[in-house]
C-alpha cells in the first residue's frame, strides 16, 4: 500500500492503519463508524456557544502526520512530575506511539493493568470491551471526538482491581514533536474500594513544537474507590490540544482531580465530572498559566445525578503577554439529586496589558434542597503589594513572582501530592516575567 504518512488523515491512511493494527472485529467496526462520523461532521462552528470564543480557523488537520509507522524520535522525555518520586509504574508515549511501559511486579501480581491499551486488549477483551464500546464521550459529540474514536493509537490503560490500594503514583508521560499527531484514548478504572494516584503529563520535545493532540480521558471510579489524578498539560507552544475528559464517580467514591494547563498554542478541553452515586465526592483544582499568544479554553461540567454528592471546582489562571483564557463552568443538578453541595469558582490574574480572560460560571438546578455557589474574579497585580515587597528588598520581578505564586497557593494548598505541588509552583515561578 503506497500511503505516505505526511498526507494527513486520509481515508487510505485510515484503512492502512486499520489493516496493520490487528484489532478485534468489533473495535474495527466502531472505528469505521467513527470514521464515517468524522467524514460527515464539519469542524465546530463559531456560532455555537461552545466555540464562539475559541477560533480554530487556522487549524489544518492535514499538517499533521498520523497513524502509520513514522519514525519515532528517540527522546528521553523527563517530565516535571517524575523527579524524585518513587513510582508504581511509568508509561511513555512519543508522537502517539507507546514506547515504554514499566509496572512494578508487585502490582502486576495484584492484578493491576497498566500500559498500552491496544496490547492489553488482547488478553482482557471481555473486561475492556464495554469501555471502548461505550466511551464516556460518544464519537458523535463533535468532529474531534469522531477523529479520536476512529484514529486513536496512543491507548493508555490504568485498571486497579477491587480493593487494591496502589500507594505509589502511576505516571503516564506523552510527548509530541513538531508536526506529529498524538491521538489518544486514556482509560482509568478503579474498581470498588480501590485507590490510586495517576499522574498524566504531556510535554513538547523542544517546548515550541507544533503538534496535534486530540484525545479522550475516561475515568471510572466505582463505589468506595478513591482516585487522585493529575493532568499536567505542558505541550510545546505550537501544539493544538483538543481533549474530552470525563469522570464518573459512583457511590461513596471520591475523585481529586488536579489540572495544570501551561502549554499548547490553543487548548480546548471539556472537563466533565458526573456524580453518579449517593455520597460521591469530587474536587477539581485547576491551574492555568498562559503567555505569548496562547489560548486555553476550559468548559467544565459538574453534573449531580445522585443525592448527597459534593463537587468543589476551583480554577485559577494567570495570563501574560497577549494570551487568553476562556473558562465556562456549569453545575447541573438533576431533580433527584437532593442535598447537593456544589461549588465552582474561577479567579484570574491579568499580568499582561493585552491579555483577556472570559469567565462564565453557570448553574442549572432542578432539585430544591441544594447548596450551590459559584463565582469568578479577574484582576491585575496590585501595585501596592509590589511596592510593599520591594520595600523589603524584593526586586520588581521577584515581587511579582512571589505574588503570582501566592495567588496559586490556595490551589496548591488543596493538592495533597507534595511532588506535584512543588513542581507546579516551580514551573509557574519560572515563567513569570517582569512587567512594566
Amino acid at each position: 500500500m503506497d500511503v505516505t504518512i505526511q498526507s494527513g488523515f486520509s481515508a487510505a491512511a485510515f484503512e492502512a492503519a486499520l489493516a496493520a493494527a490487528q484489532e478485534p472485529g468489533w473495535l474495527r467496526d466502531s472505528r469505521r463508524a467513527a470514521w464515517r462520523s468524522f467524514l460527515d461532521l464539519a469542524w465546530p462552528a463559531r456560532d455555537g456557544e461552545e466555540w464562539s470564543r475559541t477560533d480554530i480557523r487556522t487549524f489544518k488537520l492535514d499538517q499533521f502526520a498520523p497513524l502509520l509507522d513514522g519514525p519515532v524520535p528517540s527522546v528521553e522525555p523527563a517530565g516535571l512530575l517524575r523527579a524524585g518520586v518513587d513510582l508504581a509504574g511509568r508509561l511513555t508515549a512519543v508522537n502517539g506511539r507507546i514506547t515504554a511501559v514499566e509496572l512494578e511486579p508487585a502490582w502486576q501480581q495484584r492484578g493491576v493493568l497498566f500500559g498500552n491499551l491496544s496490547e492489553l486488549l488482547s488478553d482482557h477483551e471481555a473486561l475492556l470491551r464495554p469501555y471502548l464500546d461505550q466511551p464516556l464521550v460518544p464519537p458523535s459529540y463533535d468532529r474531534f471526538s469522531a477523529l479520536r474514536a476512529a484514529c486513536w493509537t496512543a491507548g493508555q490503560l490504568v485498571y486497579v482491581p477491587r480493593g487494591v490500594v496502589v500507594d505509589q503514583p502511576l505516571h503516564l508521560l506523552s510527548v509530541i514533536g513538531d508536526g506529529a499527531a498524538d491521538v489518544s484514548q486514556t482509560l482509568v478504572v478503579l474498581e470498588e474500594g480501590a485507590e490510586a494516584t495517576v499522574l498524566c503529563e504531556m510535554e513538547g520535545i523542544t517546548g515550541t513544537d507544533a503538534g496535534l493532540h486530540c484525545g479522550a480521558l475516561d475515568i471510572i471510579v466505582r463505589p468506595g474507590a478513591h482516585l487522585r489524578i493529575v493532568n499536567l498539560q505542558n505541550w510545546g507552544q505550537g501544539t493544538w490540544h483538543f481533549a474530552h475528559q470525563k469522570a464518573v464517580v459512583q457511590r461513596d467514591a471520591s475523585l481529586q482531580w488536579t489540572i495544570a494547563a501551561m502549554g499548547s498554542r490553543l487548548s480546548k478541553v471539556n472537563q466533565h465530572v458526573e456524580l453518579a452515586g449517593i455520597g460521591a465526592s469530587s474536587q477539581v483544582n485547576g491551574v492555568l498559566f498562559t503567555e505569548g499568544k496562547q489560548h486555553i479554553a476550559y468548559h467544565t461540567l459538574q453534573h449531580h445525578r445522585a443525592p448527597s454528592c459534593r463537587s468543589d471546582f476551583l480554577y485559577k489562571g494567570a495570563l501574560q503577554d497577549k494570551s487568553r483564557i476562556v473558562w465556562r463552568g456549569m453545575i447541573k443538578v438533576d431533580p433527584k439529586a437532593q442535598q447537593t453541595d456544589g461549588y465552582q469558582r474561577n479567579d484570574n490574574l491579568l499580568l499582561g496589558a493585552q491579555v483577556r480572560a472570559d469567565s462564565i460560571p453557570g448553574l442549572e438546578i432542578e432539585a430544591d434542597d441544594v447548596r450551590c455557589t459559584h463565582g469568578s474574579t479577574s484582576g491585575r497585580v496590585d501595585d501596592e503589594l509590589v511596592f510593599y515587597a520591594r520595600c523589603r528588598g524584593f526586586t520588581r520581578k521577584e515581587a511579582i513572582q512571589t505574588i503570582v505564586t501566592g495567588f496559586f497557593q490556595q490551589i496548591f494548598d488543596r493538592i495533597t501530592i507534595e511532588s506535584v505541588r512543588d513542581a507546579l509552583a516551580l514551573a509557574i515561578a519560572r515563567r513569570v516575567r517582569e512587567y512594566a
Binding site: L385, C391, G393, K397, G406
Partner: protein, 270 residues
C-alpha cells in the same frame, strides 16, 4: 563619621497635588527622632517618599544616605542600602507565608549584591534565627506559617512589621504609627522590643500619636509636621508638650502651614 540620612528641601506631590513643601531632616545613626503632627500633615508621605513609592513624585530637594543620592534608586535598592519603613497600613499578600517572605527579604537585604535566582539563606539557619526573634517578640510560632498580613488583626500587623524590622536590621528605620491598634500590653511589649532592636543600633524616626512608644524610646529630637513642612523641632519635651496640650499652640504659631494642613486634610478653614 556616623552614617547619616539627610533630607533637604523635600517637595513631594501626589497626582500633581503638592503634599510635602520643603522638608529638612537629618538623622544620624544611633539617634531616635520623633515625628509628630496632626492627621493629614504629611508624615506617612515622608516615609513613602523615602522608600520611593512610585505615586509620590519628588519635585524638588534631595535625600542622601551617607552622601549617596537615593532618589535615583528603586525601592528595593533603598531597602538594600539599609532603609526601612514600617507601614502605617501594611498590605496583605495572600498565599505567601511570612517565613518564606522574610527569608527572601532577609537574604536580599543582607546580600545587596545578590542576583535574582541565587541561593537564599540556608533554611535551617534562617529558621533558627526567625524562631529566636519571634520568641523575643513573644510571637506564636504559628505566625510564621500564616500568609503575609492576610487576615491579621491590626495589632498582629504591627507586630509583624516589628518582626521584619528585627530581621532586616536596617541602618535607618521609619516607624509609622507602629503603636496604633495595639492593646496596652502589646504597646508596652512593642515599645520595649523596638528599644532593644533599634535603639543605638540604627537611626530611628518614630511617627506616633501616643506617648507610650516614646516613653521607652525617648527621642533625642522631636519634629512637628504641619501642612507638609517641619515647622518646629525640639527635644523630648516638645513631644511631651504635644501629647499633653495638642497642636493648638503650633497651629496658631504657623497659621500658613495650618491653613495648608486644613486644605490637605479637607477640613473647614477656621
Amino acid at each position: 563619621m556616623k552614617p547619616t540620612l539627610s533630607i533637604r528641601n523635600l517637595h513631594v506631590a501626589v497626582g500633581g497635588t503638592p503634599i510635602l513643601r520643603g522638608v529638612d531632616l537629618t538623622i544620624r545613626y544611633g539617634e531616635t527622632h520623633a515625628l509628630m503632627g496632626p492627621n493629614g500633615s504629611g508624615k506617612s508621605t515622608l516615609g513613602l517618599a523615602v522608600m520611593g513609592h512610585p505615586n509620590y513624585e519628588v519635585s524638588e530637594g534631595t535625600i542622601d544616605l551617607d552622601g549617596q543620592n537615593i532618589l535615583e534608586m528603586t525601592p528595593d535598592e533603598r531597602a538594600r542600602v539599609g532603609l526601612f519603613y514600617a507601614f502605617q497600613r501594611p498590605v496583605a499578600i495572600p498565599g505567601v507565608k511570612m517565613a518564606d517572605f522574610l527569608r527572601h527579604a532577609t537574604t536580599n537585604v543582607r546580600n545587596p549584591q545578590r542576583q535574582e535566582g541565587e541561593e537564599l539563606i540556608p533554611m535551617r539557619v534562617f529558621r533558627e534565627e526567625l524562631r529566636t526573634k519571634m520568641e523575643q517578640l513573644k510571637m506564636d510560632a504559628q505566625f510564621a506559617r500564616r500568609y503575609v498580613n492576610d487576615g491579621f488583626s491590626g495589632g498582629e500587623m504591627k507586630r509583624a512589621e516589628i518582626l521584619q524590622l528585627a530581621m532586616l536590621q536596617p541602618k535607618f528605620a521609619i516607624l509609622d504609627e507602629t503603636d496604633s491598634g495595639l492593646d496596652a500590653d502589646a504597646v508596652r511589649l512593642a515599645s520595649q522590643s523596638i528599644a532593644e532592636i533599634g535603639r543605638e543600633k540604627m537611626g530611628l524616626l518614630i511617627i506616633t500619636h501616643h506617648d507610650k512608644l516614646l516613653e521607652h524610646n525617648p527621642p533625642d529630637f522631636t519634629h512637628v509636621m504641619l501642612g507638609g513642612r517641619i515647622v518646629e523641632s525640639g527635644s523630648a519635651e516638645l513631644a511631651e508638650e504635644l501629647h499633653r496640650y495638642g497642636y493648638e499652640r503650633i497651629r496658631r504659631a504657623y497659621p500658613e502651614a495650618d491653613a495648608q494642613n486644613r486644605v490637605m486634610a479637607h477640613e473647614e478653614v477656621a
